[in-house]
Assembly symmetry: C2
Homo-oligomer: 141 residues x 2
DNA sequence: GTGCAAGTTCAAGCCGACTTGAGGTCAAGC
DNA sequence: GCTTGACCTCAAGTCGGCTTGAACTTGCAC
């Protein structure tokens, strides 16, 4: 078989060997066997790692991802949950957009004192109040 | 004076008292004095907390924020740094947008096996590969 | 057959941003 | 004057997602 070792998998996926072991431990990926002590992986794991990466980047925790991947024959992914995540991303994108506009203005603002600029003050009030609570809360994305 | 106590400040800012003490310790805010043991705060701190919230939400660490706020007479904020942060946000927004589109598609996709859908597979490859490394890296936003 | 790079296990450490807990102080109301 | 409860300090704990270190084993090249 063309199973690959952990170093290969690490190199080809960009995920460090220690992380791969960690993922295996958490049930996110499985090795296809051992050669002696050494793990062997099916190259399909590469695709699974991409899927994991996508899910991570979308804001799922490893635990959630493990649950999704646990299904038999292909990942069991809850469509409603995906839609909810997409909605959350929409909100986050809007928020970041407002923030970016604020920063953009601040970086160009001619006011001698930034806090003297009414435009910036408004941004601080709006974004700083609301979004900060989100930033502090567990749910990053 | 109309200085307020830490409970008031917490209530009005949405930042917990323990966090406020932590911020003071880190030099992000200052109390204007004490009544006995108890801290008193100038209500202006509320605005400063909003600014901190904004900066946090924009992806600055508390340490960075402390450095920015350290200047005399109004925060000394580096315009170039702000512009860089805005650029970073732009990239992040683009990424999240692609991710959202992927999730949206996945949640609507009719393919019996999600991984059988070429569209989704492409998304996994593109987003899952690149963005995941970012997600894993320190720089969230 | 032997040297050694590359694997292994397991426990502990790290990061940032706080929170929590134990034990102490004190201003104000009864 | 005494209770009470809001505040105080300081150290330690939490969370997720790994990484690191120590001590060990192994497959492969020579």
């Amino acid at each position: 078989m063309s199973d690959i070792d952990i170093a290969q998998l690490a190199r080809r996926s960009g995920v460090r060997a220690s992380a791969l072991r960690y993922y295996e431990d958490k049930g996110l990926i499985a090795s296809s066997g051992r050669r002696g002590l050494k793990r062997l992986f099916d190259p399909e794991v590469l695709e699974r790692l991409s899927l994991i990466g996508l899910a991570q980047a979308a804001g799922f925790s490893l635990e959630e991802i493990a649950a999704m991947l646990a299904g038999e024959g292909g990942p069991r992914i809850d469509k409603a949950e995906l839609a909810a995540k997409a909605d959350a991303l929409d909100r986050r994108i809007e928020e970041l957009t407002r923030m970016r506009d604020g920063l953009r203005h601040a970086s160009a603002c001619q006011a001698p004192e930034l806090m003297g600029c009414p435009h910036f003050r408004r941004i601080v009030r709006v974004v700083g109040g609301e979004a900060a609570r989100r930033a502090r809360s567990r749910f990053r994305v």
